[in-house]
Each structure stands twice: as C-alpha cells, then as structure tokens.
Symmetry: C3
C-alpha cells in the first residue's frame, strides 16, 4: 500500500465562494502514481466544505442563497458562538449542510467519476489562506 499526501492552498478573497479544485486533485493523483485506491479530500478548516456537484455558476449562486436562507449570517448576535468574538457561526452551520469531505474511488489511475462530477472547495468564512488536504492510499 502506497500513501500520498498533499496540501492545496486556497485563498478566497470574499466571505463566501466556490472553487473547482478537480484539476488540482487530478494532478495529485498523477503525481502519486497510484492506480487503484481511495482519494480523500477535505478542508483542514471547519468553516469550509469540499463537495462534489455540477460546475454551473447559476447552481452555485442558488446554493449560496439557499444556504443563507437556512443559516443566515445576520443577525450575528443570534448565535451564541459569536459571543466568543467570532462572526462566523453561520459558516459552521453551512459547512455541515454541504459536508466536510469527499472520498473518491481511484480506478486505472483516474478519479472514477460520472460525467458531471466535479470537486469543489466551498468557502464560508474567507479572506485568509486555508489548506485542503488530499490523501490517497492504494497501489
């Protein structure tokens, strides 16, 4: 069994944003030389998500509005967590809806994806650099 590990640095300037990281994960897989196994991708931060869905800008705007309805940023005083001096409690809620990590099958040296599957980094509390972990195990 061969392990591979890499950190990808994300720096979303806005509070919230979506970034397609599929090509960066593919590059990791190529670099690893692993042909068969599993690939884990997760933010190393707790106010961001990694998820798999469609690369369509309208959809991402829909996600953003929908998440803001489910867990609004304001009023920040509505959240106990924000009494610690933070203003990002909503980001912790949104991240749970979208999930933390994805696990992707590796087959024949490729991400074993359906036609429309793409990996996204989703930022809910941006404006500073954050790290995404790619860990691949296999042979």
């Amino acid at each position: 069994m061969k392990p591979y590990r890499k950190e990808i640095v994300m720096d979303v300037p806005t509070r919230r944003g979506f970034e397609n990281i599929t090509s960066q994960v593919r590059e990791c897989l190529r670099e690893s030389g692993i042909q068969e196994g599993l690939c884990l991708v997760n933010p190393m931060h707790i106010t961001a998500s990694v998820f798999i869905n469609d690369d369509e800008d309208g959809l991402h705007q829909d996600y953003d509005r929908w998440l803001e309805k489910i867990a609004p940023h304001e009023p920040v005083s509505a959240y106990l967590h924000n009494r610690t001096g933070e203003d990002n409690a909503d980001a912790h809620m949104k991240r749970q809806v979208m999930g933390r990590e994805v696990v992707v099958a590796v087959t024949g040296g490729k991400l074993d994806f359906g036609t429309w599957e793409q990996i996204f980094y989703c930022e809910f509390d941006g404006g500073r650099p954050k790290r995404v972990l790619v860990k691949i195990i296999g042979e």
Copy 2:
C-alpha cells in the same frame, strides 16, 4: 491490497424515490472476496444520494416531505440553475442534505453494520437509468 469495482444500475421511474441497495452491495463484497477494508458507495450522478438509515417506509415519506420543504421543486423559476433549461435545481440541493457517498467498514468479509443500518439510493431527478459505483479496497 486488492481493489474491486462494480457499477449498479438504478432506474427509478418517478422523479423522487428511495431504493434499498444493501443486498446488492453485500453481493459485491462477497464477489470481491475482500475480508478487511473499506467499501465506498456513491452515485455517479449529481442529483442522487447514497445514504445509510432505516428501512421504514413512513420515514422515507417523512424524508421526502421534509426535503421538499427545505428545497422545494416549485417554482422552478426560483432557481438560477433552471435557466439553463433544467428543472432539477432542487435535486442538487436535496442531494447535499442527504449526502453523496457512504464509506462502510469491511470486517471478516461482512459490511460492519449496526442492527438497523441499511444502504439506500435516493433519487431526486429520476425517469432515466443512473449508475451507482461500489469500490472496495482491502485484503
């Protein structure tokens, strides 16, 4: 390390529906001969979920009503994604709530499950065949 891969074809005739796929995943595991490892199950499509919960019809109807309340199908014009000619933006939201994939421990050649754990395919935009990927790695 031994890899195993299989696609299961789902064909839910209605827009939304739940299918118990536990026995099909068990058959994959048996066929793989893997005794210890991890089993990943995910739809290869982005408007469906694979999740683990109870095989109780009332619960599935509750899920369906609840998801429709959180992310209603209509009005379809409420979603930017539907301006692409689609009418399935709600399906992309619902899929995020229920999740994409499950990872199940394999122990002694069996799915290492508690009493009530069952694997479901959950369709949010049916009426056409879709694929579920089963990838098992281990020994």
Copy 3:
C-alpha cells in the same frame, strides 16, 4: 495492509448531546500502530452522527437550536415514522444534516488534522448506550 477495529460505547443520558471523542479515536490509532492510511469513524446507530467541527460549547448549543428549527421534535404526530410507536423521526432528519461518518487521513501515525478539527459524537435520541465504530486501514 493492516486493519484495526474498535467499538467505543457512548451513553448520553439526555435526548440530545455532543461528546468530543477525539482523544478516544487518537488512542485507537496509537493502539493500531498504523502510520499511513485512512480512519473511518461512524455511529452504528441511525439516530446519531459523527462529525468534525469546533470544540466550542456555544457553537454546539447553536447547532442544537438550529437543528431543532430545521427538524423539530414536536409535534411527534407530524411524522409518519412516529406511527410505528417511535417518537424519534426528527432524530433521523437531524442525523442526515450532520452526516453519518467521517473519514480522516492518517499521516505519520497521527490524525492528519488542521488546528481546530475535533471529532464529535452527536446524539439525537439518547438515554441508552450506543456504539461508535472506529475502523483504520493502512500500514
């Protein structure tokens, strides 16, 4: 490839509650001797979640209130599932929002975590002992 398996018993006396299980998972990893691989942690029950987020009490109270708003416990008669004699349909909804399992990278014999990542068991239907499965594969 080396497999490791352990069950952790949780016994949350209240209906709902959060428990930090990071140190117990770390102890499993130490016991396994595995240096590189993947660690799966999941409840073996369907009305509980394992998730990764911040160890901050205000945030957990925020989660609890927010989940109760998204999927209220009462009226219990609002859920078809509760006609089976259960009163925990809401717990099955809440568990889907928070997710079932986490998969954590193992690097150099450690949980490969960012600064604030901690593993929690989240109970939605407590008052009885439940099991959490820790499965680690690697070398």
